[in-house]
């Protein structure tokens, strides 16, 4: 059905002005068709407009990033050169080795912090994505007593700014005996409100007729959720896994965790940096080490980001199904 529709649109003269017959023949080949002409209604002026805005924005976004990467590789004398340079003459790893050397002298081995961070982050990400999606499905697609109220609560808590929640949260943790354990970080993050809201909004796009068809065929709620709903919102949960991982990766958990052995990597690295930097905001001298710490901490989220974004491909399972 899709193939046919694309060929029809390729025949439309407004889309291919002055297209040669040979070219048209090319477009009718199914394989090239998918690669070359993906969407209809695209003009050269529009493409120019798109590229112009994107380049402008990319410069604004990219230059500071470029600087923070460059600064991490600058030796101290180049950081102080006047006027500052856009490039590095003698790139050095000294900022990284400095951070690593300081990390070696820590009381707890560096690998322990790394393990803590990775263990907690991976557990939270997987559990949050699955449990939040599982809860989002009935909230979006079924109506039962309490469903609306619970969803309102989710949105309300999203709009409540932290800070003042720290004490009640601590009391809850203390009552459950979770203070100073991994669970103090893991359990609240799994029950975060963002995931449910995101998944529910994406599930709204799934046609009800498809779910009804599955029900008539005898599938139970869980099968429908796992085999039908989740594959259709793949871009959503891949994106959610980025959000969840990133939030927990950057979390310090300093309110609930005291033991040095249980601390997370960002806490440890920021301790090194803060202890070494002394005071002063915007201190040029420590920009190198700060940039190195920031870069090291960015690696895992970026790896996850690339892995998931390359998988955020178009899910068209319900293509052609209309409500």
């Amino acid at each position: 059905m899709t193939k046919e529709a694309t060929i029809i649109s390729a025949d439309n003269k407004e889309i291919l002005p002055g297209a040669l017959p040979e070219e048209l023949r090319e477009y009718t080949k199914p394989k090239k068709l998918r690669v070359k002409k993906k969407r209809v209604n695209r003009s050269i002026y529009g493409d120019f407009f798109v590229i112009f805005f994107l380049v402008l924005m990319a410069l604004f976004m990219g230059l500071p990033l470029y600087y923070s990467i460059i600064n991490a590789f600058k030796p101290i004398n180049e950081l102080f050169i006047f006027p500052p340079r856009f490039y590095v003459v003698q790139p050095t790893m000294s900022n990284f080795t400095l951070v690593m050397d300081l990390a070696q002298n820590l009381w707890v081995p560096f690998s322990r912090y790394l393990f803590n961070s990775i263990f907690v982050s991976v557990t939270v990400t997987i559990a949050h994505v699955i449990l939040a999606s599982m809860a989002a499905y009935p909230l979006e697609k079924a109506k039962f007593p309490g469903s609306k109220g619970l969803f309102s609560l989710v949105q309300l808590t999203l709009l409540f700014t932290g800070g003042t929640m720290a004490i009640p949260q601590y009391v809850v943790m203390a009552c459950l005996g979770l203070v100073n354990t991994y669970w103090a970080l893991i359990l609240p993050s799994i029950g975060g409100s963002l995931g449910l809201f995101l998944m529910k909004q994406f599930m709204a796009g799934i046609p009800n007729s498809m779910l009804e068809a599955a029900k008539i065929d005898g599938a139970n709620e869980f099968t429908i959720f796992w085999k039908l709903v989740m594959p259709n919102v793949k871009p959503a949960w891949l994106t959610l896994s980025i959000f969840a991982f990133q939030a927990i990766w950057n979390a310090t958990g300093s309110n609930f965790i005291y033991s040095e052995e249980l601390k997370m990597l960002p806490t440890a690295l920021n301790q090194i940096y803060a202890a070494d930097a002394g005071t002063g905001v915007g201190n040029v001298a420590r920009q190198g080490a700060a940039a190195a710490v920031a870069l090291i901490l960015m690696i895992p989220p970026i790896i996850l980001f690339i892995a998931t974004q390359s998988n955020v491909i178009e899910t068209m399972a319900f293509s052609g199904m209309k409500d």
């Binding site: 529009g46 007593p145 309102s152 700014t161």
Partner: protein
Amino acid sequence: MFNKKSDNSGVPNENKKNTWLEIKKNKANYLLIAPYMILFLIFTVVPVVASMLLSFTYFNMLQWPEWRGWLNYQRLFLQDDIFLIGLKNTLMFAFILGPISYVCCFFFAWLVNELPPKIRAFMTLLFYAPSMCGSVFTIWLYIFSGDAHGLINSYLMELGWIKSPIQWFTNTGYNVKVCIVIQLWLSLGTSFLSFIAGFQTLDKTYFEAGAIDGVKNRFQELIFITVPSMRPQMMFGAVMQIASSFGIGPVLRRLGGFPSTDYSLNTIETHIYDYGSTRYEMGYASAVAFVLCIMMIVTRNLMARLIRVND
């Protein structure tokens, strides 16, 4: 919008029975939501409700909270001048940054979506990277550093436009503008990425059908096909944007210092931080947080009406 479903208040007995039948009939649904909801209620709802209750007390974290009634709120609106500055700044940032960054998120997600997959992945990474790491924005402290070594200062001095370095983050003539630029740099975050994902779930056949029905170019496509089918995702983006633009503060504290010159970067969030984490007046801080939350809910409901989602 936030009216909780009151199950049986003033409802005849028959309806009560029906509710119970409904609950029984939806056993599978309750089972599906249970694992998440238990964690959500214990670790998110209980602290939020407790914090709201604390807002009616005097609580210094050492003694048992002391009931104060509306006194905290009275003090907030009638005596606290710094709160009013914070309110003014928050509204200023929210109404400048909020709409701009919301539109930017949607617009650039839409533009990026036009690109071929590999370039699209790269551009998404580039745009999202500033929001990805908690501390990468500190590079702006170097770019706008107040001494002669700061990037902007040194170039301006070399060009001869200024004679002495400008204190970008403490001079009240510049700091708000500089901070707006930096916040914009950080604004392509959660909403942006969820819009990107949203575009990927759009049914492509709609666009083909639209082309046959007379949609002429990509702007018409955007208005007649994309936006109507993206409503749920747009609502998500709006809520996230409201939360981030009304909750503005932590980044400003890192940039402009705390307290900032003449409280020029003091927001409501900063006020909560001030009372909650430095003065240990948790009751009062909770009251401020509650007021902020209500402002956000009102804005959210306005947005829901604008986007025309009914939930």
